[in-house]
């Protein structure tokens, strides 16, 4: 059943094709979207169980042996990320049924939604650097279309900023891949991991340069400190369902790529880890400070994405430490943090979308009185908001706790201070939203800008809007009360990442024979 | 015999290269848009010629297909340009 590995890529791709065939009927497209997301969830969970019990799974696509063909690899980190992708996909697919209007569906919302999921799952599962680039492009194209769908001027403006910076990131990534291929003659990550140890001795500066290119390229995608400004400039423009999908998944692909590349391909580079640690501290604080100046719900949340990315990168940066316990705990905390963050952030964006449906605006100044008029939504907002700020007993507390503990073990007191300060400021920021949108009395003059969109709020529609929010909020609470299972998974994933032997063994187990056969045909050894 | 043939083909390639240079000059200078479109079409035609002659000179039949595709497609491009110019003329600005 090795072909299980392809299913998280194939299911959304085929769903996209089927939704295109059914372009005339928005009803059929909605059903396909839901079925596809459900099937993806099932496949992701089955894949995760299989990886958890049987170890790393490998698929040589097209039966081409590993250093030559494209290899798909699912280790614990990949499979956890795929499960989270499927979770966000499912939640947003349900939410979209009620929240996305007919016009957007006629422009192809559902097919592109599925193509985006294809790209994200592909990026998580691939074991080949160039293939990773291809999936990044798939994601970029799909997300650009989703971002400008509908063609409102601010959307186009945000979309152009988004696509320009991301193309820059792609170019940097591609240059790095080109240099690596020129020196190592391979782009299979497991193979690279073996070969770079030798090359790093003969060409140390070259490898350092390539590492810097990767930090820049993936850093733009992830939104870390000096390269984050595209994110708050664009995430608040598309419809709520789209921005929830983006907020949950896109930046995390960048973080995943950084973790993957810097644990597998460049594992012994203390300089780049110290650099990442510094950037992480700056990202946390500057992201959260940026949120203070904002008075639009989604812009505040966008700045918090940046701040939270800092925490994840901090886990990776702790690899600079010599203390093995701190290294494992740092990566484990980063994995835990990613899981927590994806769930919570998607949820907050979905809630902001629901506020928009109820009141027709995201501006805090024109909002108010939601706690009185819709107390259920207020409670549902408080859960992820407090979780984001790290209040016990919610998932964010354990994520921050593990990260800070790892930081203390690594004796990186400065970045720990930054993390604590950023946590406090996050809480203040969340209280600001609570205060302005939910607690203060509604303004006298109700805002005219943007009507409470598309149709009346029937019970069915309300259920579709709130169902995913309740699901995600429930998950935050469950993880908060029972953090141990997820933390065990994160720790095992971290152990697997830090000891790349198992990964390399799984990917390259049959490659020696293939290389010999290739040499025999070619007549010259490679 | 083949030597003469090859020499002949090389000379043709040279002439075509000159034509390409002339086409580029017109493309760069061409005072009006139609001039540039015609230059563009010329470049495509020269490209067809070069691929065909090259495929004969170096015995690479694959390039003949390139010539055919280029000939077929460049025509569409020119037609599209012609249509664009016509639309602009209707609007009164060129």
């Amino acid at each position: 059943m090795k072909n299980l590995l392809i299913s998280p890529i194939l299911i959304p791709l085929i769903t996209a094709g089927l939704s295109l065939v059914a372009w005339k009927s928005s009803r059929v497209q909605r059903i396909f979207g839901l079925l596809g997301a459900g099937a993806l969830m099932v496949a992701a969970v089955v894949l995760f169980m299989s990886v958890y019990t049987n170890g790393i799974q490998v698929l040589q696509v097209g039966n081409w042996p590993s250093p030559f063909g494209i290899t798909l690899v699912a280790d614990l980190l990949s499979s956890v990320m795929v499960v989270l992708t499927a979770l966000v996909g499912l939640a947003v697919a349900v939410y979209s049924i009620a929240a996305v209007d007919e016009q957007q569906i006629s422009f192809g919302y559902f097919p592109f939604f599925q193509v985006l999921l294809t790209g994200v799952c592909g990026a998580f599962l691939t074991g080949d650097l160039f293939n990773l680039y291809v999936w990044f492009e798939v994601m970029l194209m799909a997300s650009f279309v989703l971002m400008v769908l509908g063609g409102e001027p601010p959307q186009v403006e945000g979309g152009i900023k988004y696509v320009t910076l991301n193309l820059l990131s792609s170019i940097t990534f591609l240059v790095a891949v080109g240099i690596l291929y020129a020196v190592a003659h391979t782009l299979n990550m497991a193979d690279l991991s073996l070969k770079l140890t030798k090359i790093a001795q003969t060409h140390p500066t070259l490898i350092l340069t390539v590492a810097a290119f990767f930090i820049i390229g993936f850093g733009i995608k992830a939104g870390i400190f000096p390269l984050y400004f595209w994110l708050p400039a664009s995430y608040h423009t598309p419809p709520a369902a789209t921005s929830a999908l983006f907020a949950g998944l896109l930046t995390k692909v960048g973080v995943y790529a950084l973790i993957r590349v810097f644990t597998l391909v460049f594992p012994r580079m203390p300089h780049s880890f110290s650099l990442l640690l510094t950037l992480a501290g700056l990202t946390m604080v500057i992201g959260v400070l940026g949120a203070f100046a904002q008075f639009e719900m989604r812009r505040i949340l966008s700045f918090h994405i940046i701040s939270q990315i800092g925490y994840m990168i901090m886990g990776l940066g702790l690899l600079a430490s010599n203390n093995p316990a701190a290294r494992v705990l740092g990566i484990a905390a980063a994995v835990f943090y990613i899981a927590h963050h994806i769930i919570v952030k998607t949820n907050l964006f979905l809630i902001s979308g629901t506020v928009k449906v109820l009141r027709g605006t995201y501006q805090l100044k024109s909002l108010g009185g939601l706690a009185a008029s819709s107390p259920w939504l207020a409670i549902l907002f408080l859960i992820p908001a407090l979780s984001l700020a790290g209040i016990p007993p919610l998932s964010g507390f354990w994520a921050k706790f593990a990260m800070i503990k790892a930081g203390l073990q690594a004796e990186q007191y400065l970045v720990v201070t930054a993390a604590l300060v950023a946590g406090l400021l996050t809480l203040m920021s969340m209280i600001k939203i609570w205060d302005e949108a939910f607690w203060k009395p509604a303004p006298e003059v109700l805002p005219k800008e943007g009507s409470p969109s598309s149709g009346p709020l029937t019970p069915r529609r309300l259920f579709l809007l709130l169902g995913p929010i309740i699901l995600l909020a429930g998950l935050t609470v469950v993880i908060g009360l029972q953090p141990q299972p997820l933390f065990t998974v994160a720790e095992r994933a971290a152990a697997q990442l830090l000891d790349s032997g198992e990964y390399i063994q799984a990917v390259l187990s049959n490659s020696q024979a293939a290389i010999q056969e290739f040499d025999a045909v070619r007549g010259v050894p490679l | 015999m083949t030597n003469y043939m090859n020499l002949f083909l090389e000379i043709i390639l040279g002439i075509l290269a000159l034509a390409a240079v002339a086409g580029f000059l017109r493309l760069a200078r061409g005072p009006s848009l139609p001039d540039r479109v015609v230059a563009f079409d010329l470049l495509a035609t020269v490209g067809v010629g070069i691929s065909a002659v090259y495929s004969m000179a170096h015995n690479q039949p694959v390039f003949l297909d390139v010539a055919v595709v280029l000939a077929l497609i460049s025509f569409v491009g020119t037609v599209a340009f012609a249509r664009y110019i016509e639309e602009r003329l209707k609007g009164g600005t060129l």
Partner: protein, 135 residues
Amino acid sequence: MKSLILQTASRYLMVLLVIFSVFILLRGHNEPGGGFVGGLLIAGAFALYGLAYTPKTARRLLRLDPRTIIGVGLVTAAGSGLAAVWHGQPFLTGQWLPYRIPFLGKLGTVFFFDLGVYLVVLGTTLLVLLTLEEE
């Protein structure tokens, strides 16, 4: 633009382009060509037709909406890999019919992958071109 010359010429050119695109598609397995180039060529044929007549006529000639074509292409290409899964081999491993088919030669799943690409490229290009032309 209703030019009789162009309209008459494009009818003949269209036939040529379509035949040639199918030729390129079939040849693509071992020689230059394949679904992508073939798809561009046939899209060029329809674009020419749309220019000579109207985009509406081109759509009528195409019968199917470009979006449907993209969808069918995606499913065909993705589905071509599933034959290998059925036989217990890794996804996308080429599966071949044991005998030759006249004109097509050896038929395998690789051809269907190419066919899927062909349809996706045709659909995407026409979706863009025809929409732009209609504006």
